[in-house]
Structure formats: structure tokens, C-alpha cells
């Protein structure tokens, strides 16, 4: 036994890894999620808002990172719909508007058909200029956004009344896959206007470490990668999900399946490796 492990052919490990990832995908396994503080914080920030509060949802990602961030976008939209918040979508990435439309079709059109475009939600679309855009709209939104994504004049959109800058939103929700994204929102929106602008975000695993320094002052809550998405989904489902939630609201949790098993495998491997190592040492001593 020990001998086998000591000279373990690494192909066994490969096999284990393959199984660990493949089985959950094939069986579409789902596991309980425990929401960590950061996800809880995100949830609370949104959940404490009043009905009809304006919320800015900035979707700064592209299909490449859809796998990680799509679930967050869906969950955020769902949560806002449930809270009956006014949703203002925008994007700093050229393909962002598509992501926005996906979310709208997936959630609002499908499950909240009573919400009306222009009254309950609006898609402001893409503006080029990365952080430049943020710098402007924190003080003067209409300066840049004269029309919405469909080309309708901003002034003709009922829900745009009283919205002149980002500071008029009760909360900014950012989903980002890199530059320009959460970091820029923190630097140019949350930092200069600490009382005015609240910001929560969901981002890719690669970005998450870079954002930790901003927690919790500038960034009360953060969803890191698919794990964060899963936790947040769990919170939303718990409160609004009902008995059998639509699978599209469990994307994150579903994708978390392979992650989880694989992580447990990694942990097991590390432990195993060390046990072997210590046995080895003790044998040498003898």
C-alpha cells in the first residue's frame, strides 16, 4: 500500500482529476453552498434597498468569461427584479450590451414579463473610453448617454427622470472580466464619492486577488469567480427561489460541482502526499 503510494504513477492522479471533474458535469451534481461573508455582504447591499430604488448594473465582460460571470449577471438581475428595483444597464466593453440583452431575455422577459422597458429597466448600452467614461458619468451621466442602446432619446425614457449622474443611483453593481472593470469603478467612482456611491461587484478568479485591498471600505462586497456566483445564487434562491428553482438560476451552483470535487481532491492529495512524506521520514529515522 505505502509502497504503491510512494512510487505512485502520476497517471493515477490524472485519472482521479478527470473523474473528479467529469462526473459532476455528467450527473449535473449540485452541492450545498455556504455563503461566505463577502457574498453575504453583496446580497445584503442589494436586499436592503427599497422598492423602486434606482440601481446601475454595469456588465463589463464578454462571451469569453461568460462561463464565470454569466451566472452572476443572471442572479443580480433576478435579485433586482424580485426587489422591484429600477434597473439601468450599461457596459464599458463593446460586447457588453449583448451580455445585458442575454440577462434581460433570460430573466426579465422570461420570468418578469410585467416589467416594462423604459419604466422598470433600461439598457444604456456601450460607451467607449474605459475609465474615462466612469470619470465623466460620476458627475454627469447625460453628458455621455444622450440615447439608450435602442437609440431612444434619454429624455423620452420615463425612468431617466432625476438620474443625472452615477451618484443618483442607490447602488452600482459591476460584473467585470478585467480592464475596464471593477478596479476602475472603485478608483474613479467609489473612492472619490465614498458617501454617494455604493459599489458591489462580481469578477473573475484572476481579478479577485487584485481587488481584496479595496475590501470593505471602497468595495463592501465581492463575488469571486464561479464560487462567489454559486454562493450568491444560493442566497437569492433561499429567499426568492421557491420550491423548484429554474435551472438557469443554478448555473453557478451547477458549475461549482466539478470545482468542489476537484478542490476536495487537491486537498486530499496534499494531505496524502504529506502522510507519505512523514512515514518516509520516520522510516529513515529508524
Amino acid at each position: 500500500m505505502y509502497e504503491f503510494f510512494k512510487t505512485l504513477d502520476r497517471r493515477w492522479i490524472f485519472l482521479l482529476m478527470a473523474l473528479a471533474v467529469a462526473t459532476p458535469i455528467l450527473l449535473e451534481l449540485q452541492f450545498p453552498e455556504e455563503a461566505t461573508g463577502l457574498a453575504q455582504a453583496v446580497f445584503d447591499e442589494i436586499d436592503k434597498l427599497e422598492e423602486g430604488d434606482p440601481v446601475l448594473l454595469a456588465f463589463d465582460f464578454d462571451p469569453a468569461s461568460e462561463g464565470e460571470l454569466g451566472p452572476m449577471a443572471t442572479a443580480f438581475t433576478r435579485h433586482c427584479c424580485e426587489k422591484k428595483l429600477k434597473m439601468y444597464f450599461m457596459a464599458l466593453w463593446p460586447v457588453g450590451p449583448q451580455m445585458v440583452d442575454d440577462a434581460i431575455n433570460k430573466v426579465i422577459r422570461a420570468d418578469f414579463p410585467t416589467l416594462i422597458y423604459g419604466q422598470d429597466y433600461v439598457n444604456l448600452g456601450f460607451k467607449s473610453g474605459n475609465e474615462g467614461v466612469i470619470k465623466v458619468i460620476v458627475t454627469d451621466l447625460r453628458g455621455l448617454y444622450t440615447t439608450d442602446d435602442r437609440g431612444t432619446n434619454i429624455n423620452e425614457i420615463p425612468m431617466m427622470k432625476g438620474i443625472n449622474s452615477v451618484q443618483d443611483f442607490k447602488l452600482v453593481i459591476n460584473v467585470s472580466a478585467g480592464y475596464a472593470g471593477t478596479k476602475e469603478w472603485v478608483q474613479y467612482a467609489a473612492t472619490p464619492y465614498p458617501e454617494k456611491i455604493r459599489l458591489v461587484a462580481g469578477c473573475t478568479g484572476v481579478q479577485a486577488p487584485l481587488l481584496y485591498p479595496y475590501i470593505p471600505e471602497q468595495l463592501p462586497g465581492l463575488l469571486g469567480a464561479i464560487k462567489g456566483a454559486a454562493e450568491y445564487e444560493k442566497l437569492v434562491i433561499e429567499k426568492y427561489g421557491g420550491t423548484d428553482p429554474d435551472p438557469k438560476y443554478l448555473e453557478g451552483i451547477r458549475r461549482m460541482g466539478p470545482q468542489l470535487i476537484a478542490h476536495l481532491l487537491m486537498i486530499a492529495l496534499i494531505i496524502a502526499g504529506n502522510i507519505i512524506f512523514f512515514i518516509e521520514k520516520s522510516r529513515e529515522r529508524r
Binding site: 463577502l38 423604459g118 481584496y212 468542489l260 478542490h263 487537491m266 492529495l269
Partner: protein, 612 residues
């Protein structure tokens, strides 16, 4: 020579850039150098690729072991290179094709003098001596003595904007505006235009005999006449496409009959001259052929549902889905608010000339916009009409607009708003398709049910496709090479999508396995350092599973700092930040001194030997 010159080049190149970094005028040199580097790197591909070819050809020719794979590499390489460089099968770029316009070669010089518009005005001086915008350089001219500026040909909006942005003063901008209007007088409502960069005279849509004569009147110059005539002849070409699967009852709406004509018996659509994008839209999706879906009240819904039931079973889930779908449709109130909003008075931009006039009138605080006009609220009568419209009256939408106008003030902006509203909301076919999709997601539908729900949409799609085909067929390609080299559907794209991407992505995915084996092998508590390494990794990994959270969730708030997620944050926030900062500072120093050594020639190993 062979060694000292390169050393000099290195040193000079480097130090020049360092100094340039601190001089405002030259701060951009760094970027320029970067572009030059890219150029050199792509030229170097010839060396790399040549070497690759040589190596594999050699391997193949002297039958070294595994030479077969070399052959495959060669084939893959040459194939990809060929289809990529030739843009094989790539359609021309949409925005560069000027769909619906007919071009004819004509040099700017040979634009007749009849097309030179002149107004009073002076070309202002710029301190930074910026050149005139490239778009107008050949057509714009000015005469400082006479104090006039003139433009040869019809000025296009983008050219006007370029000229406007050249200087901010109202005097100049007003002059440009006047020049713009003046130059476009003879442009037949903007249908005729001249593209200097394309060296072409252009006409949008079909040129009628009157249009031709109007243009010919401008000048008798033979070349001009020839050009105009060539356009005229080419814009008389008749194109037609066959559209299978069209219901023979379809009729082209009268207001579109001019654009094209449809023989619905033979299912053939025909057009004379090119089809403009506007015509394409108007034809492809018009309310006469494919009516707007009105909201269904419960009665209508029940009827539709029974009809479907009559054709086959409908489950309970499907029924709820059915209603959910229909709830999504627009409502009378939405239409009303849309029209009301459109009725609101808008403040409009002033023209530069208006502002210039104010300036000369000595007004001290000039505003950019005019005060908004009065609001035009909807009357009771209007609301009534809207409600009847919602319930399904007014098959003919024009009649609706007329009724609205009849019932009180109804501005053109409101009318436009209405038409966009019609465009944005689904037709009957689209609505039924949506229903079909939703029902199918809930459960099965039999062929009959599908046909009931989809036939309308099928016709609509077939028609739109047909129009699209005609749109393309009626157009003669101007720049076959302008296409995107990796446009979808091209062989290059196929190789990228189905060979390049999966291969590289899978290679990337292999990391998952290697990470595992590395963790097993290398993360052993050999010494303090190793223990720290694996300890941290362990905590982070654990923190990413519910197990970890759950392990520490019981900790009281007093020591909540030890909860795994807090621990993670602490590690990332403090330790990770500290470590990576030190590393980055060190790296910066290392890079600085290495660069310096290179520049000073202390380290010249990259330069090769003195001999050849």
C-alpha cells in the same frame, strides 16, 4: 564596424527614448517605437516561417523518423497561410461597400466647376499648425485675398464635421455651415455624392432620367457626361430572386411597389437598380405583409389555446407558459406613455450661424440650445383611439395615424415614435414563434400544432431572407478584398474555430491535471518554507469549498477573524500584497539595471561575435 555600430545604435536608440520620456513634445515616441517593433516582428515571420518550412521539408525529404508528422505540419501551415492571406471566401466589409449606391470612377480634378460652391470666410490659423482634415484636403480651397472659402463637389456630413472641428470660433463654423448647405444644393437631396478617397462619383438608389438630366445640366464636360451616363445605365439593371415557400396571397404594399415588384405566383421578387439599406428594411419587415401582434385578451387567448388543443394535447405547464408568454406583450398604457413622452417639447441645438448672429447682435451669454417648445399632451379622444387600436381595430396602421391626427394635435415626432414602436414590437408570426418555443421547452408539440404556430413565421423568415438575397444580388461589389480575414464561414475561420481553438484550449486545460500532480508531489512539509507554502495553499483551497466555510463557521464573532473567508482575505490583503510588492520593486530595479547594462554596452552577449 560589425560590433561598434550596433553598440552605438543600441545606446543612442535607448537614451534618446529615455530623454524623450521627459519632453512633452516627444513623449509619444515610445509608442512609435513600439509600432516599429511590431513591424519588424511581423517581417521576422519570414525568417521564422522560412526556417520552419526548411526544417520540416528537410525532415520529410530525408525520411527522418516521424517525417510523416512533418508533412502534416507543412500542409496545415501552408493551407492556413494560403486561405488567410487570400481572405478566401471572406465577404466584403459591410461598412465599406456603400450598399445601394452606384459608383463611377472620376478624379477630383475633373469635377466640373459647376460644382464649386463658394462662400465668404477665412481659413483660421492654428497655433499647432495642424493640417487640414485629410477628408477635405483635395476638395476644400480658400482664397485669403478675396476672403472666400470654396468646396468642389457636394460636402458630406462627416466632411463638414471635420471642418467644424478644425477651429472652434463661431465665425469659422458658421462659414462652414453655409458652405455645407450651399454645396449640397445640386445634390438631388443628398442622393448624389462624391467620394474623394474613392475617386468616385456615386448615386444612391435608382437613377431616373430626370435625375440624370439634372446632373448633366451641371456641366457639358464630356468626361462628366460619360460618368453620369455610365451610372445611369448601370442603375437600370434588373435583378430578381426566387423566394420558395411564400404564401401566394402575399402582396407588396402599394407604397413599396415602386421599390420592387413581386410575382407571388412564381414567388419571384424583382428590383431595378441597387437596393438601399432603407428599402431593404422597409421591404423585409413591413406591417402590411406581416401585421403587428396586438395584446390578446382572455377570450382571444382561450380561442387560440382551444385551437391548439384541437390539434393535440397541451399540458398544464405548457398552458402556464402560454399565458406567461402573452403577458409579455405590450399594453395600451405603454403605447400611451411612449406617445406622451414623444409629445414632450424638446430643446433643440442652435446652428452655429444662429449663435454667430447672436454674437454679432452683442448678446453677452449665448446658450447652446433653444428653449423647448410646448408639450403636446394626448387628448381623451387620443386615448380612446389607442385603446381601440390595442383591442385590434385599425388593421391599417396609416388609418390609425390619421385617426390620431384627426383627434387633436399629433406631432411628427409622435408619429415617428409610433412607427418605431411598431417596429420594436413583435409581429403575429414572431409572437406565435415565441409561444411555440416556450411550449416546446415545457413539453412536446405535434407537427400540426407546430405548423399552426410556426407557418406564419416561416413565411416571414423566407420573405426576409429573399429580400436579403436580392439586396446582395442587386449590389455590385466595389472592394472584394475589404473583408474581414477571419469572417465566419471562411476556411480560415473554420480552421481557427475547429482546429486552432480546441487544440490550444485543451492544451491549456491540461494544467488542471498538472496542478494536481504538482500538489501531490511538491507540497510536502520538508522545512519551514515548504510548510508555509503548502499551508497557505491548503487554507485557500479549503476556503474555496463549502467544507472549509462550514468547518470554521461555528467560531464565535469574538474570534471571527479566524473564519476561513476572513483568513483568506487577510492572506491576500496583507501577506500576498506585501510579497508581490517586494517582488515587483525588485523586478523594477532588476529591469532598470539590466537595461542600463545593455545601453552602456557592459552586457553585449546578445550581439554575437565580431567575426562573420
Amino acid at each position: 564596424m560589425k560590433r561598434t555600430v550596433p553598440l552605438l545604435i543600441t545606446a543612442i536608440g535607448g537614451f534618446v527614448l529615455i530623454v524623450a520620456y521627459f519632453i512633452p513634445a516627444t513623449e509619444s515616441w515610445g509608442e512609435v517605437a513600439a509600432i516599429w517593433f511590431d513591424v519588424l516582428a511581423s517581417v521576422a515571420f519570414i525568417l521564422g516561417g522560412g526556417n520552419l518550412l526548411r526544417v520540416h521539408l528537410q525532415k520529410a525529404s530525408d525520411r527522418k523518423p516521424g517525417w510523416g508528422y512533418s508533412v502534416i505540419t507543412l500542409l496545415a501551415f501552408i493551407l492556413m497561410l494560403f486561405v488567410g492571406l487570400t481572405k478566401w471566401g471572406a465577404p466584403p466589409a459591410v461598412n465599406q461597400e456603400f450598399y445601394g449606391e452606384t459608383f463611377a470612377e472620376l478624379a477630383p480634378a475633373s469635377l466640373p466647376d459647376g460644382l464649386v460652391a463658394t462662400v465668404e470666410g477665412r481659413l483660421p490659423q492654428r497655433q499647432d499648425h495642424r493640417w487640414l482634415p485629410a477628408s477635405v484636403r483635395v476638395q476644400f480651397s480658400h482664397d485669403p485675398l478675396a476672403g472666400t472659402i470654396s468646396f468642389r463637389g457636394w460636402m458630406r456630413p462627416n466632411q463638414r464635421n471635420d471642418l467644424l472641428s478644425y477651429k472652434e470660433t463661431l465665425e469659422w463654423r458658421c462659414a462652414v455651415e453655409r458652405l455645407y448647405t450651399k454645396s449640397r444644393e445640386s445634390s438631388l437631396g443628398g442622393r448624389a455624392s462624391y467620394y474623394a478617397d474613392h475617386r468616385s462619383l456615386s448615386f444612391r438608389g435608382r437613377m431616373s432620367a430626370e435625375d440624370r438630366d439634372a446632373l448633366l445640366k451641371i456641366s457639358g464636360d464630356s468626361q462628366w457626361t460619360a460618368t453620369v451616363n455610365s451610372i445611369y445605365e448601370r442603375s437600370q439593371r434588373v435583378t430578381s430572386v426566387d423566394i420558395p415557400g411564400l404564401p401566394p396571397t402575399l402582396r407588396l404594399p402599394d407604397d413599396l411597389a415602386g421599390a420592387a415588384n413581386l410575382d407571388s405566383q412564381r414567388g419571384r421578387l424583382e428590383i431595378t437598380g441597387p437596393m438601399t439599406a432603407a428599402q431593404r428594411e422597409a421591404l423585409g419587415r413591413n406591417w402590411q405583409m406581416f401585421p403587428l401582434a396586438r395584446p390578446l385578451d382572455s377570450a382571444h387567448r382561450a380561442a387560440l389555446l382551444d385551437e391548439l388543443r384541437g390539434l393535440g394535447p397541451i399540458t398544464a405547464e405548457q398552458e402556464t407558459a402560454f399565458h406567461k408568454t402573452l403577458d409579455g406583450s405590450w399594453t395600451a398604457s405603454l403605447l400611451r406613455t411612449t406617445l406622451e413622452e414623444a409629445g414632450k417639447g424638446q430643446e433643440q441645438d442652435k446652428t452655429n450661424c444662429e449663435m454667430f448672429a447672436e454674437l454679432q447682435a452683442g448678446i453677452t451669454d449665448i446658450k447652446l440650445k433653444k428653449p423647448p417648445g410646448p408639450d403636446v399632451p394626448l387628448t381623451e379622444a387620443h386615448v380612446g383611439i389607442i385603446n381601440r387600436f390595442t383591442e385590434g381595430e385599425f388593421e391599417d396602421l396609416v388609418a390609425f395615424v390619421a385617426a390620431m391626427k384627426g383627434a387633436g394635435d399629433f406631432t411628427s415626432r409622435q408619429e415617428d415614435a409610433f412607427w418605431t414602436f411598431v417596429e420594436k414590437n413583435p409581429t403575429v408570426g414572431e409572437r406565435d414563434r415565441e409561444i411555440a418555443v416556450r411550449l416546446l421547452r415545457e413539453g412536446p408539440l405535434n407537427a400540426a400544432q407546430r405548423d399552426r404556430l410556426l407557418s406564419e413565421m416561416r413565411a416571414q423568415v423566407a420573405w426576409r431572407k429573399g429580400v436579403g438575397e436580392l439586396f446582395v444580388a442587386a449590389h455590385d461589389v466595389k472592394y472584394p478584398w475589404s473583408g474581414e480575414y477571419r469572417a465566419q464561414g471562411t476556411p480560415f475561420w473554420w480552421l481557427y474555430e475547429y482546429a486552432f481553438k480546441p487544440l490550444t484550449a485543451t492544451m491549456f486545460a491540461m494544467l488542471a491535471f498538472y496542478v494536481a500532480s504538482a500538489a501531490f508531489r511538491a507540497f510536502r512539509a520538508k522545512n519551514l518554507e515548504a510548510t508555509l507554502l503548502l499551508g497557505t495553499a491548503f487554507i485557500i483551497l479549503l476556503g474555496r469549498t463549502f467544507a472549509g466555510v462550514w468547518l470554521t463557521a461555528w467560531l464565535p464573532d469574538a474570534v471571527s477573524g479566524l473564519r476561513i473567508e476572513k483568513l483568506t482575505v487577510l492572506i491576500m490583503q496583507v501577506f500576498n500584497t506585501a510579497g508581490s510588492r517586494a517582488i515587483m520593486i525588485g523586478i523594477a530595479l532588476g529591469i532598470a539595471s539590466t537595461s542600463l547594462k545593455v545601453l552602456l554596452g557592459v552586457d553585449r552577449s546578445y550581439l554575437g561575435s565580431a567575426e562573420e
